[in-house]
């Protein structure tokens, strides 16, 4: 129990550091224009460990924070907070089911969560800019994969689903 708390705290610290690095050196952590969403990982980990009210507030605040420090377009202030709030609400509602999952099933569900987030975000962000199929393979899948890879590394160092199966 104590170990779990310590792991959670360390993963929070790591995520904060990654987020700050991302904010300052956004162009450096990107690969061919693809950037991971550290805040999304942060929110998923929060959803697993914290009270739902706290998580939904965090989802909104993180979304706003992302739109302010990672601006991409003048037209999409509020898009991150909208999609993050919606996604985290659905995730919180499905949490009892997610918490019963282990190993591959758990990670597939996390990949699915990230995929849905990027799909919704990119469909709105790139509407009129690229065709849906292009949005899927050029942006959604690579961004999901990159973000999931960081999530996977973090969950390998600080296991998440052990705690979810208490």
């Amino acid at each position: 129990m104590e170990n779990n708390k310590k792991n959670t705290l360390i993963s929070y610290i790591v995520l904060v550091i990654l987020f700050v690095i991302g904010m300052i050196f956004n162009d450096f952590i990107g690969i061919a224009g693809i950037h991971p969403d550290i805040l999304l990982i942060f929110l998923i980990i929060l959803a697993m460990n914290e009270r739902p009210v706290f998580v939904i507030i965090a989802a909104f605040v993180f979304g706003i924070l992302q739109d302010i420090v990672y601006p991409g377009s003048l037209h999409f202030w509020g898009l991150s907070s909208l999609i993050k709030t919606l996604l985290i609400y659905v995730l919180l509602k499905m949490l009892p089911l997610v918490r019963r999952m282990r190993g591959v099933a758990f990670h597939v569900s996390m990949f699915g969560t990230m995929f849905v987030y990027y799909l919704l975000y990119n469909l709105l962000y790139y509407s009129g800019f690229a065709k849906p199929f292009v949005i899927l393979y050029r942006y959604t899948l690579p961004e999901t994969a990159y973000t999931f890879l960081i999530f996977l590394v973090l969950s390998a160092i600080f296991p998440l689903y052990q705690k979810t199966n208490r």
């Binding site: 939904i56 909104f60 377009s73 509020g78 907070s81 609400y89």
Partner: protein, 264 residues
């Protein structure tokens, strides 16, 4: 009644919060140029600039060395062109004087480094390492060596936010050369633009250039925008739809120039 409301709020607090947050997000989405958000973003850039700048400069240093070699060759070619144009310019000035015209355009060019290029591909704002301390102000024009990039949206002390002309809502008053036909240019997709409602009575050919018209209050005249690639008739048959490529490769922007004075 009140206790029922209280129970409802307690039992549905997560849903209520979600709805409130979604409402605020939708409100923000409806605000294109929110000055408060712009001010916060500019302040953030000011604070983080001193950390970002050395890394960005280091990244561009290598690229600049390669570019320098090519530019030396280009300088030689342009020097020849300049001497030819100087002859034409002096002749033009003399003729304008004879006609009583006066050249009013006057720019100060300030080189600036792009310290932020947007969170995702297709971003239409960039942030530069120059601000009010360098006399940069709102609506100053941003160009690169190939042409028009955009305008300053908000200037902080040491950095500024620039809105590029590939933003879907931006319209630029443009002139098609050499026929001197005026039209409104807007972003189409990728690195392409579109100008519509040009009467078919004009003969317009692919390969012709498009520059700013000077009719706008923001953009001065004669800044290159792009080259026409396709001319087609609209459905009504009375006007052309003109498509073209921007001269500036917005995805590969590294260093730009800020034009102060705007030629006004």
């Amino acid at each position: 009644m009140l206790s029922k409301l209280y129970d409802f709020i307690i039992s549905k607090h997560l849903e209520i919060l979600t709805v409130i947050f979604i409402g605020i997000s939708l409100f923000l989405l409806s605000q294109t140029e929110n000055h408060t958000v712009l001010a916060v973003q500019t302040k953030w850039q000011d604070i983080t600039l001193f950390i970002k700048k050395p890394f960005v400069e280091q990244q561009y240093r290598r690229m600049v060395l390669d570019e320098n070699k090519q530019l030396r060759m280009e300088v030689f070619r342009l020097n020849k062109e300049v001497s030819r144009l100087q002859n034409l310019s002096s002749e033009n000035e003399r003729l304008r004087e004879l006609l009583g015209f006066r050249d009013t355009s006057h720019y100060e060019m300030l080189p600036a480094l792009i310290v932020y290029k947007g969170f995702k591909d297709g971003s239409d704002i960039i942030m530069l390492d120059k601000g009010k301390k360098d006399n940069v102000k709102k609506n100053d024009i941003i160009v690169d060596k190939n042409g028009l990039v955009g305008r300053v949206l908000s200037a902080g002390e040491r950095s500024c936010i620039v809105s590029m002309i590939i933003e879907p809502d931006v319209r630029v008053s443009a002139r098609i050369n050499p026929v001197r036909v005026y039209g409104i240019l807007k972003w189409h997709h990728g690195n392409t633009f579109i100008i519509d409602d040009i009467p078919v009575s004009f003969d317009i050919q692919p390969g012709w250039t498009v520059t700013t018209s000077g009719l706008s209050e923001v953009y001065p005249a004669d800044i290159p925008i792009g080259v026409i690639t396709e001319v087609s008739s609209s459905d009504n048959g009375f006007t052309y739809i003109i498509k073209g490529d921007y001269s500036v490769l917005f995805k590969n922007l590294h260093e730009v120039f800020i034009l102060s004075g705007n030629g006004k």
